[in-house]
Point group: C2
Chain length 294, copies 2
Amino acid sequence: MKPMRTELDCLVCLYRQALNTARLATDSEELQRRILSEAAALLPRLDPSLSPPENSIRLYRLIARLSENPDPYAKLKKTGNEHALRLRDRAQKSISAAHDPLYTAILFAIAGNIIDHGALHDFDLDETINECLRRTPAIDDYTQLKEDLKGAENILYLGDNCGEIVFDGLLIELLPGTVTLALKEKPIINDALPADARLCGLDKICRIISNGTDCPGTPLNLCSGEFKAAMAKADLIISKGQGNFETLSHLKSGPPLYFLLTTKCPIVAQRAREMAGAAAEIVSGDTLLMRAGF
Amino acid sequence: MKPMRTELDCLVCLYRQALNTARLATDSEELQRRILSEAAALLPRLDPSLSPPENSIRLYRLIARLSENPDPYAKLKKTGNEHALRLRDRAQKSISAAHDPLYTAILFAIAGNIIDHGALHDFDLDETINECLRRTPAIDDYTQLKEDLKGAENILYLGDNCGEIVFDGLLIELLPGTVTLALKEKPIINDALPADARLCGLDKICRIISNGTDCPGTPLNLCSGEFKAAMAKADLIISKGQGNFETLSHLKSGPPLYFLLTTKCPIVAQRAREMAGAAAEIVSGDTLLMRAGF
């Protein structure tokens, strides 16, 4: 399987992301328009052979520079963390009471990155919990994961977004051995940084590092020595979210690698279909618990 | 009310349209990528003070030139017409049997531009008919329209898309006086040309002209003398679809002007809210039968 490329659809998506981010970065419509113009000039210069998360680094740096706002998603990240923390106790109770707590924790961790920030009432919180549990993965390699977890001493856990990391914490508590949670080094979209993980109390249950990048994924050639060392030491890797999937789905060797994600676009759904084999039916919006094919 | 502008969201939409159209215009992914690059270079040069349909002229001409395909939507237009023709008899029966045939014909004409090309079985045809009749307009100035139609001798009917024109024909048959149907001069997206109207038999029930443009709307400063003469002579205008609305919603005088459309984006829904007054709740996807506010 070749590394994922930046397809034409990805360019359209990046341009849309540029507008969304420009609006968060500044209230000036004039500056928003300038950001969109510069983004349009950047798009043809992106390298199609790189994955979308790798190309997006340049786009988000451009927006940060033009808006003089290094972290446009700061407020959304804060409310994302807060909202997830409000859900944590209910989710934990639901996990403890489940027939298979590990599997239930995985369902929460997968659903975590689509949890809506808007739910403010108790009724909605319960509804959100129920929705997480309803979403059963379209590909489900849980049996294999449980087998591979036996005797795993060093687990590398690649985190994704703010908010979501709270549910990652509930899963990490149930994992064997020592867990290292790798997050991003600098602000990129709503991805969690080590500071977010500490804010959510994850420093009490695992080791927290960054992957050394401001990429919304894990581009190995850009990652820090510390991250690479953690990867070399790992005897199992759990990769959360679409960005990590896009940058790692082509790996051909290494310790057992499991992708836990909600697919959010047709390109990623198509990639997952290719990985899973012709018979798999996966559409955008499906959740996956999928072992890399090596 | 000022003329509609090309908002930042419209730029993102135009870029997405560029990809959709590039894929229809050529099978070469290399050429599709080049089209997207040139489209990205064009976007910052568009005039924000022009409406999206006016700006889109340059985009679609660019795609036609680069792909050497002057009519990328030719096949879709053909199947759109054919599909609508298969629905015509059922729609006509439904109109004849209705308590108020004119109103029912209007519902079909409004729903016409979202009729899916995919329905191939009788069951789906009936389902499509029922769906058209279920969609009651969020703004409904029918009572005023009926009043304004009394004594109207010259009605100018601004058409929109292929397929849809078949249902326009069913409505035109019920209108009083002489009807002039104005379509586009040259191919633009899936907009109907005079040849499409003749193919669908509309030349038997009304006079068919073009507005002289390759704009997916009615930009008066670009329209032909023939069209302007028809407009000057009209004592009532019916404007179909979003493109005509975007280019005419700012008009401040003239004969009674009625917009019949399905709103397809938040920007147009917002404009309709502004026109209808603060109390109106209109969201993208709503249908409108709306008199211009003069």
